[in-house]
């Protein structure tokens, strides 16, 4: 039991390090190679976790090997298009100018019900309004509406809108983030003034964000009843 406990901690730390090393792509966009790696690594870790008769290295070495191969292939994919095409494939056009490309649909082994389901999930009911629909390499379906049916933008309506500002967290979970405060061009004196205005201390704040123009968002800590 104790051995399993220690091995679980070791393998957990190793898996976290492996996922961090592979980068945010691994978490957000599961392309075929990344999907394989995710399943493999999980499986490889579970074997020595549960069977203490197997050496720990019997799990660690394969995990590190899979990690290193994934790192190498991901870099080669970025640098060399043929490698990318071989490992991930290419997006497939499913619809063009409102017409379903039946041959391509059959090649992707996607049914028309699945296609309409994915489009509905994106708020598209009328297929004739779709200019392009593509199945991406990670299996997601992207749909671009014909410009006639797209919601108008501020530019279309010739309305002036202010540029979006990135809010910066200056207090998080009661702790003042001095480096973020400095990055937003503010100082402690300004912060104290804002907190007095809100009638609270820094410790009572769960989150306080500020933009460059001075727009604030405050969320107080919840007090247990």
């Amino acid at each position: 039991m104790f051995i399993s406990y220690i091995r679980t901690i070791i393998l957990y730390v190793l898996l976290i390090a492996a996922v961090r090393l592979m980068g945010k792509r691994q978490l957000g966009e599961l392309e075929p190679t990344e999907f394989v790696v995710a399943i493999l690594i999980a499986d490889l870790a579970s074997v020595p976790m549960q069977d203490i008769g197997i050496p720990l290295f019997a799990g660690v070495i394969p995990i590190l090997t899979v990690l290193s191969i994934e790192l190498i292939f991901s870099v080669l994919s970025v640098r060399f298009r043929p490698v990318r095409k071989f490992l991930s494939g290419s997006p497939v056009m499913l619809m063009e100018n409102g017409k379903i490309l039946v041959q391509n649909l059959m090649e992707t082994r996607l049914t028309v019900d699945e296609l309409t389901q994915h489009l509905r999930a994106q708020g598209i009911l009328d297929l004739s309004t779709v200019q392009y629909a593509l199945m991406e390499v990670d299996g997601k379906i992207s749909a671009i509406l014909d410009p006639k049916y797209q919601p108008p933008t501020a530019q279309d309506l010739q309305i002036h809108v202010d540029a979006a500002e990135m809010p910066v967290a200056v207090i998080s979970d009661g702790v003042i983030l001095d480096d973020q405060l400095a990055a937003s061009g503010r100082n402690r004196a300004w912060l104290d003034k804002q907190l007095r205005h809100f009638g609270c201390t820094a410790e009572e704040v769960f989150l306080l964000t500020a933009t460059k123009s001075g727009k604030l968002y405050l969320c107080r800590q919840e007090v247990d009843a």
Binding site: L64, L71, V75
Partner: protein, 126 residues
């Protein structure tokens, strides 16, 4: 480039660990089996005291390295070898040539098999 270098370094490191553990395992198993073969010859010539001393020495050699074997081999396999060593020492102490010789041959085979299983031969890989 950083990720590529990291990937290559980790891959080479794993390869180095595999080769090193194989080399060390090969060296130690060869040493153990050659001593056991000598013990077998001694037993064949009915020098059971010398055979027992040699087997005990080989067992001690094996036990001193149990940390390494525990990291590289399946525990059941390592336990099996220990169990056979124990039996062999008993047979040597009791002068039982009929049990000693086949058990010693079996132990040599087991230890050779442990090393062979780690070698990158095609039948191991497939």
């Amino acid at each position: 480039m950083k990720h590529l270098a990291t990937g290559v370094v980790i891959l080479l490191l794993c390869l180095a660990i595999c080769f090193t553990s194989l080399a060390v395992l090969d060296h130690w198993t060869t040493h153990a089996t050659s001593q056991l073969e000598q013990a077998l010859e001694l037993a064949d010539q009915e020098y059971f005291d010398e055979a027992e001393a040699l087997v005990t020495e080989t067992w001690e050699f094996w036990r001193r390295r149990r940390g390494f074997f525990g990291m590289v081999l399946r525990h059941t396999e390592a336990d099996q070898v220990n169990s056979t060593f124990r039996q062999l020492v008993e047979y040597a102490q009791n002068g039982c040539a009929e049990e000693f010789e086949p058990t010693c041959a079996d132990l040599i085979e087991q230890i050779n098999h442990l090393c062979d299983m780690e070698k990158p031969y095609y039948y191991n890989v497939l």
